[in-house]
């Protein structure tokens, strides 16, 4: 039960991002918790599109023999003029799960008071929490998570609790620019940089590699004079990775 990218070539041309992945080999084994460590200009969204079959590679082969989620918490599919419950019903129909049971599972995470509210009348945070919970409550063999700190203000422990539960029953693919979060949830990592993906089954080594890339980038930008300012800009980069 794996998802594999074999000798994949992909030209990424998305806005300012100009990267070419050549001979990309990725293997997501059954149940393994894997991190994709990438900065915002690594074109990782295109790699995720390949994994989700939303796009085709220029060359190479992609083998999928287990189910995979979409990048969670993507809010692209959410209809703003419908209620949270109506949006959840769409997912239930799409993934052939029992509507009542699925809605109840979403509601019991704390979203019950908002379920019948229109999406454009709830806060952005609730919308993101809904997108996260709705994805995580569906059964997949592997979940693509692009944000771990969802809804920290409204429901401080929710994301952690759901992620722990998810790791116990399925594989996790965490796409992040936060090496700390990756080390917390994953035991393998691919570090994406300049069209290559380097595999690590040691999170410390992956973190070290990724941090060296980050610091190189900072040097290039010429912003290494003020450490405090750099911490802030780094945080901004991390937030940019919201699909």
């Amino acid at each position: 039960m794996t998802i594999e990218l074999q000798h994949v070539k992909k030209n990424v041309r998305a806005g300012a991002v100009r990267v070419t992945y050549d001979d990309l080999n990725i293997r997501l084994g059954d149940g393994a918790d894997v991190a994709f460590l990438a900065h915002s200009e690594a074109g990782i969204e295109s790699v995720l599109n390949l994994l989700c079959a939303a796009d085709a590679p220029d060359k190479g082969r992609i083998i999928r023999d287990h189910s995979i989620s979409w990048p969670i918490p993507s809010t692209q599919y959410i209809q703003r003029h419908l209620s949270l419950a109506a949006n959840a019903r769409f997912l239930a129909r799409l993934y052939e799960v029992d509507e009542k049971d699925y809605l109840a599972r979403i509601a019991e995470t704390g979203l019950d008071p908002f379920m019948n509210s229109r999406v454009d009348r709830v806060s952005g945070e609730i919308k993101t929490i809904f997108a996260f919970v709705a994805g995580v409550c569906l059964p997949f063999d592997r979940y693509i998570i692009t944000k771990t700190g969802v809804g920290k203000k409204a429901f401080p422990d929710l994301a952690d609790r759901l992620l722990e539960d998810l790791r116990a029953r399925a594989g996790l693919l965490l796409v992040t620019s936060q090496a700390k979060a990756a080390a917390k949830y994953c035991d393998q990592a691919y570090v994406f940089d300049q069209g290559t993906a380097t595999f690590y089954d040691d999170m410390e080594a992956a973190t070290e590699h990724f941090n060296s890339i980050q610091s190189k980038d900072k040097d290039k930008e010429g912003g290494a004079e003020d450490e405090e300012e750099d911490d802030d800009s780094d945080l901004q980069n991390m937030m940019a990775l919201d699909f």
Partner: protein, 256 residues
């Protein structure tokens, strides 16, 4: 195999319901579109009727004649364009790994079908009652014609959408085709109004056959000399095979 088909059916149902719900967004007055749009259409038709009276065959009721020509033809064009867009562009629904461009295309076409079928019923039933052309003489022939237009629209949409993936300027050709089809697809005429020497230049068009079948099935006083269901079916099967094969082929090509 059966399980896969059932899954695909459920995916298409989910996407179609979502497409229909999205109409609420397009029309800020919710489902008022169902009343507003036909009312505007009626107003236009009422004005046009006086001009069109001379163009419709003398023994056929003019409003029903026009409605039977316009709405099915628009349904065909909208279904074709919806499938072409869904196949040619990277739809956001494709982020769901179990959704394929074929599902998105069929769901968009079914949305167009639902809209135009409701419009068809809303217009054609009252107008034919008022003009004493009720009930239709062969309702099965009418439904066959509507179903043929939908499936032919889907098939052509797959062909054009797949070509658009590799050759975007085809969009321009499609708009010319749509325009030409409005002229020669039998929207405003029946074949008996055209001199028989010109028939060979028009009867190759399966859309004209569908228009003829609709009127042949509805009016007691009109029998089409050319309408051929088997000819339409041949076109549908050929185009569907071509469209699905092309779609399968271009799915391997990255989006531009």
């Amino acid at each position: 195999m059966l399980a896969d088909l059932r899954t695909q059916f459920n995916v298409i149902v989910a996407l179609t319901i979502r497409e229909l719900q999205s109409l609420q967004k397009s029309y800020n007055y919710g489902f008022a579109w169902a009343l507003l749009e036909p009312l505007m259409f009626i107003a236009v038709l009422r004005v046009a009727r006086s001009f069109l009276k001379g163009l419709t065959p003398g023994d056929l009721p003019p409003t029903t004649f026009i409605v039977l020509g316009i709405i099915p033809n628009y349904m065909f064009l909208n279904a074709m364009q919806a499938v072409m867009r869904a196949t040619g562009d990277q739809d956001k629904m494709l982020q769901f790994p179990r959704v394929t461009p074929v599902d998105v295309g069929i769901a968009s076409a079914l949305r167009a079908f639902c809209i135009y079928f409701v419009l068809f019923l809303v217009f054609v039933v009252p107008s034919s009652i008022i003009e004493k052309a009720w009930p239709p003489q062969n309702i099965l022939e009418v439904f066959f014609s509507l179903f043929s237009l939908l499936t032919f629209g889907i098939s052509l949409g797959f062909v054009f959408g797949s070509v658009r993936r590799v050759f975007p300027p085809i969009k321009q050709f499609v708009s010319y085709y749509s325009l030409a089809n409005r002229m020669i697809g039998g929207m405003m005429f029946v074949i008996t109004q055209i001199p028989s020497t010109y028939w060979p230049y028009l009867t190759w068009n399966p859309i004209l056959h569908c228009s003829e079948m609709t009127r042949d099935g509805w009016f007691v006083q009109y029998t089409s000399p050319i309408a051929s269901p088997s000819y339409v079916l041949e076109w549908i099967i050929g185009m569907l095979l071509l469209g699905l094969s092309l779609e399968r082929f271009v799915r391997r090509i990255p989006y531009i």
